[in-house]
């Protein structure tokens, strides 16, 4: 085994980490709160909000993520809106993942017993107070497993941005493989994804433990 080659290749691949990580973390930062807002719209009593959020979720979950990336990067300029490739990727990923998170949050919220709303209501809490202090905190505990699933999927989905020319981890590895006729770079990239999903799995397990101070 040529250790120098492996190390040099690994170093070369780290150049792709920046794209992968910025996309991953920015997407999480934007899509989680957006997803919560869409979930709240979905369960609101206002017909219009239900309808708009329902359509949003249907559109964003019903078409391929890569198509959405293409649409935002190649399609929107036709309407006079242009993004650089990284921004386009972040926008598309955030909008897409928000739709998935919205559905997870909605089902989480709807799994909370009606009695929680009623007791908050008779104590005088307003609806926003009830959501913020009673319902959403309990929902957060319940949705950890499916959210963890989505986040791990997102780590791997970031590789889709090769489609608009971004040099993420996988694309960087692919360039090296093509140049060197050697698949070592792919193996290193694979290990990179595995390590990241492992870390995230551990983080989510910790979160679940942190929430285990109560059960209901």
């Amino acid at each position: 085994m040529d250790y120098d080659y492996i190390i040099n290749t690994a170093i070369a691949i780290t150049k792709g980490f920046k794209v992968t990580y910025s996309l991953l973390f920015t997407t999480l930062l934007l899509s989680l709160p957006l997803g919560l807002l869409i979930a709240l719209a979905r369960i609101s009593k206002t017909r219009l909000l239900q309808y708009v959020s329902g359509t949003y979720i249907w559109l964003l979950r019903g078409t391929p993520l890569l198509l959405q990336v293409f649409f935002i990067y190649f399609g929107l300029p036709a309407f006079g809106i242009t993004f650089d490739s990284m921004t386009a990727a972040i926008v598309a990923f955030s909008l897409n993942y928000a739709a998935y998170f919205a559905e997870i949050f909605r089902s989480g919220i709807q799994s909370i017993d009606r009695g929680q709303y009623e007791s908050a209501d008779v104590l005088g809490l307003t609806y926003p107070q009830t959501m913020k202090r009673i319902i959403v905190p309990q929902m957060a505990k319940r949705v950890l497993p499916p959210v963890s699933n989505e986040v791990i999927t997102l780590v791997k989905d970031t590789a889709l941005v090769f489609g608009i020319g971004l040099l993420d981890t996988l694309r960087t590895a692919q360039i090296i493989v093509t140049r060197d006729f050697n698949i070592t770079a792919f193996i290193i990239a694979g290990i990179f994804y595995l390590i990241n999903t492992l870390i995230l799995t551990i983080v989510f397990n910790r979160l679940e433990q942190k929430y285990s101070y109560y059960y209901d």
Partner: protein, 253 residues
């Protein structure tokens, strides 16, 4: 003075008439037990009073102020949301299933509404909560979570939580029905102590011994109507209506 005035109250769920022209007046400090078969509308009556559900017809007056009035045809017209908020705050409610907030400690359950609704300062809210916990005999559970409590303890916390908002009227919807028989006593004792402090109480219950001993008045409901009411010794000892006789015959057998 009557703290509660319920006039011609009717409520339908779809085609089902759950409350039919209910009339009821309750004086301050009175303890009223509401009994009756399943589906007779007992819970619905309490839920209408605290406006968890809206009534269709009739009026409700709380502490001399109208929460919901009726027009010439009897159709209910609710007061403004702001006024209703003020009136609802005069009532506390305890549910069969406790409905404690599972993610909050006993103390946090009790101070939640004082802090968020009344904007009481924390120290004050906590000292009130500690007094209430002592009153329901749970000072040692202050920092426990609901999942660590027995059913009877949960219900006592729920009572303390409702009392923390300093209500004038307490509504109890079968507070002991979800409890193992050996745990009902501790909850009933707390309720009895409350009655002795002259809290106005409406208690839907299957605990006939409690109703007999603590209530000033017993109301028998069936099929959405008040069939019979009176002093416990009269209703239990000498029921006049055949449906009351049948119900009591079954339950006291």
């Amino acid at each position: 003075m009557n703290i509660l005035k319920i006039k011609n109250v009717s409520k339908k769920f779809g085609a089902l008439e759950v409350l039919k022209n209910i009339n009821l007046e309750i004086t301050r400090g009175e303890v009223v037990a509401i009994i009756g078969p399943s589906g007779s509308g007992k819970s619905t009556l309490l839920r209408c009073l605290i406006r968890l559900v809206n009534i269709d017809k009739g009026s409700i007056e709380i502490d001399g102020k109208s929460m919901v009035d009726q027009d010439d045809t009897g159709v209910s017209i609710y007061s403004s949301e702001k006024d209703i908020r003020v009136l609802r705050k005069k009532m506390g409610m305890v549910f069969q299933n406790f409905n404690l907030f599972p993610h909050k400690s006993v103390l946090e359950n009790i101070i939640e509404a004082p802090l968020t609704v009344n904007r009481t300062i924390r120290e004050e809210a906590e000292s009130t909560a500690d007094k209430l916990l002592a009153k329901v005999g749970l000072s040692d559970k202050r920092n426990s979570f609901p999942c660590e409590l027995s059913g009877g303890q949960k219900q006592r916390v729920a009572i303390a939580r409702a009392l923390a908002m300093n209500p004038a009227i307490m509504l109890f919807d079968e507070p002991t029905s979800a409890l193992d028989p050996e745990l009902t006593g501790e909850v009933l004792r707390v309720m009895k102590a409350l009655a002795e402090e002259h809290m106005t109480m409406l208690v839907v219950t299957h605990e006939m011994a409690f109703a007999r001993e603590v209530a000033d008045r017993v109301i028998f409901m069936d099929l959405g109507e008040i069939i019979e009411q009176g002093k416990p010794e009269d209703v239990f000892g000498n029921p006049t209506h055949p449906r009351t006789q049948a119900f009591l015959g079954q339950i006291l057998r």
